[in-house]
């Protein structure tokens, strides 16, 4: 019944699919990790607030407003456009053999040739995820009853201690489901970086499809792979939720 399905295409391109899968997983893991770290900082930045005293304006201008603008920009523009912007505009500005702001010379040449698309892709996905994760952190932290903060502060805990021992542990439980969703979104959105020539799963499928002019096999095959990984991720998040559910 599945005779029409030419498994030989998948088998022939198996090494490319495998490398693509590996790249997709790398991109996703980097995106989750960097996105979570940056997202926590951005999220805390967005709710940073000093009621009075000399720090009121510095905090607003140097911390809160930049975080707000960054999040608004990333959430308000398409990821696809962000990928192109980062790959063709931002990264060449920073890493360029002649006049890169960050890295120049032979190292820049090497990075560009060997890892150019990967650096841009990982950067774009991480920066994008950070904005969404920042909102998850912000919402999670703000959902904690203000009485919790008051109780901790009234015992003499500092703001940082209150966040660490009281607010973030409680917020984390509420943030798990949306964080899981974000990880799954990230995995699927990583397919967009095939547009800049990064050889991940979707790129592998496109290559195989182009060679045989057959579209069902490669795209169904990678769909299945995406599906398996997203199922595994949902299951993992579900287990974590149960583990961290209130006792």
């Amino acid at each position: 019944m599945f005779a029409w399905f030419r498994t030989d295409i998948v088998i022939e391109y198996w090494p490319l699919f495998l490398r693509g899968l590996w790249t997709t997983l790398e991109l996703t893991l980097i995106g989750i990790f960097v996105g979570t770290v940056l997202g926590l900082l951005l999220g805390l930045g967005k709710i940073a607030h000093v009621e009075q005293g000399p720090w009121k304006w510095p905090v607003r201008i140097a911390v809160k407003t930049p975080a707000q603008l960054y999040i608004a920009f990333v959430r308000g523009t398409p990821l696809f456009v962000q990928i192109l912007l980062i790959h063709f505009a931002l990264v060449p500005l920073l890493i360029h053999p002649e006049n890169g702001l960050l890295i120049q010379g032979d190292l820049a040449l090497l990075l560009k040739r060997e890892y150019g698309a990967f650096i841009s892709g990982a950067l774009a996905l991480s920066l994008n995820a950070a904005a969404y994760i920042a909102e998850i952190f912000r919402a999670g932290i703000q959902s904690i009853d203000s009485g919790q903060v008051e109780a901790a502060r009234s015992l003499g805990l500092t703001y940082a201690q209150t966040m660490r021992s009281v607010v973030i542990p409680q917020a984390f439980r509420r943030m798990l489901p949306p964080l899981g969703n974000e990880a799954i979104t990230l995995l699927k959105d990583s397919s967009l970086v095939s547009a800049i020539g990064l050889a991940e799963l979707a790129y592998a499928a496109r290559t195989a499809a182009g060679a045989y002019a057959r579209y069902w096999e490669p795209y169904l095959f990678i769909s299945l792979i995406y599906l398996i990984i997203t199922f595994a991720m949902s299951y993992g998040v579900h287990r974590l939720e149960r583990k961290y559910k209130n006792p």
Binding site: G147, A152, R153, S154, L155, G156, Q161, N246
Partner: protein, 240 residues
């Protein structure tokens, strides 16, 4: 010793504290009574700087609360607070709730914090509940854990913000019993309450507040049997 002079507080444009003046001596038990919205809780929360004052001065022992240079975290270890809604940390057991501040602020050892916490739980009659989470406890039990938590920092002063208002009637007594025994232990206590019988029984002085001001200060006998201020009379006539 607490000294408050001409304390002013606004929420936005609304004036909630309109020139509070009072002195509270060491080891004194003061109950603050008055109608809802009279600024009782706000006044209490100004004393440990959970609310910031916009005018006037507050000094609490060696701390000038209204001075921006004062280390508020240090002040707060000196002034414990018990809240209307308990505000226990739901992800921690009763014992962990009590140990948190000694561990992170005083940096005592875990074994020391735990043995002190067990003593405190015994003192509030909950020695067998150390491993219970807040949601496994009744309201009265939760509030007693919250009192033990506030005592763990060995504060000189304890603030109670309507500690029995969120409780079912049958649980009010157990919390008041704990507070009564504290009142005899020589701590300064300031209690915002609607429990008039309790106020009459334990307090050295009673403050009557209305409209963001302290309108009358006196011994419980004076306030409850012969109030001089018209609004005190009206308030008491409605509730007694």
């Amino acid at each position: 010793m607490i000294q408050v002079a001409d304390l002013q507080k606004y929420f936005g444009k609304k004036k909630v504290l309109n020139g509070i003046n009072c002195d509270i001596k060491d080891n004194e038990v003061v109950c603050i009574i008055g109608p809802s919205g009279s600024g009782k809780s706000t006044f209490l929360r100004c004393l440990n700087a959970l609310e910031s004052a916009q005018g006037g001065t507050i000094t609490v022992d060696q701390f000038t609360v209204t001075d921006p240079k004062t280390d508020l975290n240090e002040l707060r270890t000196h002034v414990g607070m018990v809240f209307q809604r308990f505000n226990l940390f739901p992800h921690m057991t009763a014992l962990e709730n009590i140990c948190l501040a000694p561990l992170s602020v005083k940096k005592v050892s875990r074994s020391e914090a735990q043995s002190q916490a067990r003593d405190l739980l015994k003192r509030v009659g909950l020695a067998d509940k150390e491993n219970s989470y807040p949601q496994e406890l009744s309201g009265g039990q939760q509030q007693r854990v919250a009192i033990a938590r506030a005592l763990a920092m060995e504060p000189q002063i304890l603030l109670f913000d309507e500690p029995t208002s969120a409780l079912d009637p049958e649980m009010v007594g157990e919390v008041l019993d704990v507070m009564r025994s504290l009142a005899h232990s020589g701590k300064t206590m300031i209690i915002v309450t609607h429990e008039m019988a309790f106020a009459k029984q334990v307090s050295d002085r009673v403050f009557f507040m209305d409209g963001g001001q302290i309108l009358e200060i006196g011994t419980p006998e004076h306030i409850f049997s012969a109030p001089r201020n018209e609004r005190t009379q009206l308030f008491l006539s409605k509730i007694l």
